[in-house]
Amino acid sequence: MNKIWIIIKREYLTRVRKKTFIISTLLFPLLYLGLIFGMGFIAEKSKQNLHVAIIDNSGFFSNDAINKQNVRDNSSVLTLVKGNADKVIADYKTAGYDGYIVIPAIDWKEGSDSLFFKSNKSYGSGSTAAVEAKLNRIWSDIKNDSLQIDLTKQQILTKKLGVTPKNIQDENANAKTAEGIGYIAGFLIYFILLIYGSQVMMGVMEEKTNRIAEVIVSSVKPFQMMLGKILGIGLVALTQFFLWIAFILIVYNIGKASGSGGMATQMVGSMQKIFTSVNVPLILFCFGFYFLAGFFFYSSLYGAIGSAVNEDMREAQSLSFPITMLVIISIALMTAAISDPTGPIAVWGSIIPFSSPIVMMARIPYGVPGTVPWWQLGLSMGLLVLGFILTVWFAGKIYRTGILMYGKKPTWKEMIRWAFRKN
């Protein structure tokens, strides 16, 4: 036992003291935020403001009606073309248009879902959606005028009934927040499994290529060596995670204290909302549990692969592919679980050990025991513990043989045979 501690200490200290650890700890939240905002920014940027010629054969469109909407929303510009329609169709480009839409001779009581924005370029649906929305608003104005519906009536007509899911067992549950937290928690576990799982694999490979493995196993059991490495790297991940939480709390408190600046107050406000709308201690506890158990489950498998291959990174990649696939499948299941947290995919995905760390973490924010009954949570945790005991045992057997084996890359079949071989 004492020897495992010595190994854990080395694995932990050599990693935490590295510059890359400090840099990645600081950079990851920034990259994460950058990714979220960046994607929104790019999506916004990729829309084009189109200048569209409207060739009206119905006779309902007027310059006034179109200009009214052009003023309201400048994401596209519509221009009514009168008279020289053929010339515009033939040469819309020199007239300064990106394309044109021909409105057929329809009655105001009808609509048409077969209009085309014609152009010799392809535009994304994001760009044409803005044009479509604007055209529909103009069409609504035309219908309102024809039906003689005044502004008051229009306002009455646009009144709707809104339905949002509300969990009566858990008054504070909020589906939108739960969804957000579910995504963040699920993806965090996903990143941790992949990044730190492959760190375990690389660490084991390093010991093999440095030829230190046999020196170490003459002092400790191979199983202790593997476990020490997994626990040490797990602690590194945990440290990084706590640093991030501390970072969030510091930002939160600074924001609260300064109380100024749109973004800061907004963040503080939304975080306060989150803190009151979900069961934070339960989520944190579950996150800790699924993070650690999932890490044991996957990193022991990654460790086994690291022990089986030689210095060649490509060998490691091809052999670890099935395991990486399991993690990626879990993410796919998670997306399904978030949109339907009580459906069969969500329930089974969160109970079966390989996907449960990610899928269950996406469901828990919806509420326990409202969405996730206690028995499901208990079963999921129990099975995951069994699962990682099994993978650690299995990996230990492979590790024991693989770590001293040099030469050709073993197949999965051979590795499974190692697992059942007597020592």
């Binding site: 046999e214 196993v217 003459s218």
Partner: protein, 312 residues
């Protein structure tokens, strides 16, 4: 006092090979014991069983008078494997400390011993260097230090001199003698016979998983001698005939190699030569080198072991 190590009918079969097939041997305390054999003879498997890395399929290992306990006894064994190395990115001092602690030394003990050895090998200035900054020879020295640091009762060295220049080889060799003198037992595995002849008291030769030779270096040489002598004379040995008690094997200038005939002895040879009036300048017995014995015993077996199906 009981032997430090006794192997009784050890067997270890792998899926395709009888790696170790019924080997028994005894290593006495303070011996420098040579474990010899061609590549793939089963030496490494044997050593891995002694160091607790493998469990034998059959047989017993008696270490220091008791049944070998792989968990606790490894602290009394120092093993330098042939496939050896160190963490490249780790500082040398920390590395030595880490390996010493894994052998069960306390931080304080380890520190004192590392300092002592670093001083002895003039390595004090290395403490904060990384292994990747060391030359191969320096790395080997560090490896040796980490192997013997915890003052093991049994030290197992697998090809300890590979990659070392003559100066560093001698340094390590002297240290091996020192350690043996101060009571450690050393098992020395190699296929470099000239080193064995120089260092070892006792040797065991294994081939294809079996022990084929066991004895002291002196005894083994006696056992394999072919009654060859070299004679230096002033004049040519031209008058040798059928009644001489020896056969002339070869001559070069005035030195000759002879084989004494069955039932004769060196004195008879000398007598005969004196009677012939030949002036003798030198007369020496030619003992076979371990290299010759090794080749003679191993020859005829395939150089590489063949894979076979084992019904275990």
């Amino acid at each position: 006092m009981a032997a430090i190590l006794e192997l009784q009918n050890l067997r270890k079969y792998f899926a395709t090979q009888k790696a170790v097939d019924d080997i028994s041997l005894t290593v006495e305390r303070g011996q420098i014991f040579g474990l010899l054999g061609p590549n793939g003879a089963g030496k490494t498997t044997l050593i891995r069983m002694i160091t607790g890395i493998f469990y034998p399929d059959e047989g017993n290992i008696i270490f220091d008078g008791k049944k070998f306990d792989p968990v606790n006894d490894v602290g009394y064994i120092g093993y330098m494997p042939e496939e050896r190395g160190l963490y490249k990115k780790m500082k040398i001092g920390e590395q030595a400390m880490y390996l010493a602690q894994l052998k069960g030394l306390s931080h304080k003990d380890a520190m004192a011993k590392i300092k002592k050895w670093f001083l002895k090998f003039e390595m004090e200035s290395w403490w904060n260097k990384k292994v990747e900054d060391l030359s191969k020879g320096m790395g080997q020295k560090l490896q040796f230090v980490t192997t013997v640091l915890h003052e093991p009762k049994l030290i197992i060295l697998d090809e300890p001199f590979s990659g070392l220049d003559p100066v560093n080889s001698n340094l390590i060799k002297d240290e091996i003698f020192n350690l043996a003198q101060s009571g450690s037992t050393i098992i020395f595995s190699t296929h470099r016979m000239e080193q064995v002849e120089e260092i070892c008291n006792h040797i065991v030769l294994v081939n294809k998983g079996k022990k084929i030779l066991d004895g002291t270096v002196k005894q083994v040489k006696q056992d394999f001698k072919e009654n060859l002598f070299s004679i230096g004379t002033e004049q040519a040995l031209s008058s040798v005939n059928g009644i001489a008690p020896f056969d002339l094997i070869g001559s070069k200038d005035h030195s000759h190699v002879i084989r004494i005939k069955e039932g004769q002895n060196p004195n008879a040879v000398l007598q005969y030569l004196l009677q012939q009036g030949i002036a003798i300048q030198s007369f020496n017995e030619i003992l076979p080198s371990l290299n010759d014995i090794f080749i003679k015993l191993v020859e005829g077996t395939p150089t590489a072991r063949q894979f076979q199906k084992i019904e275990a």
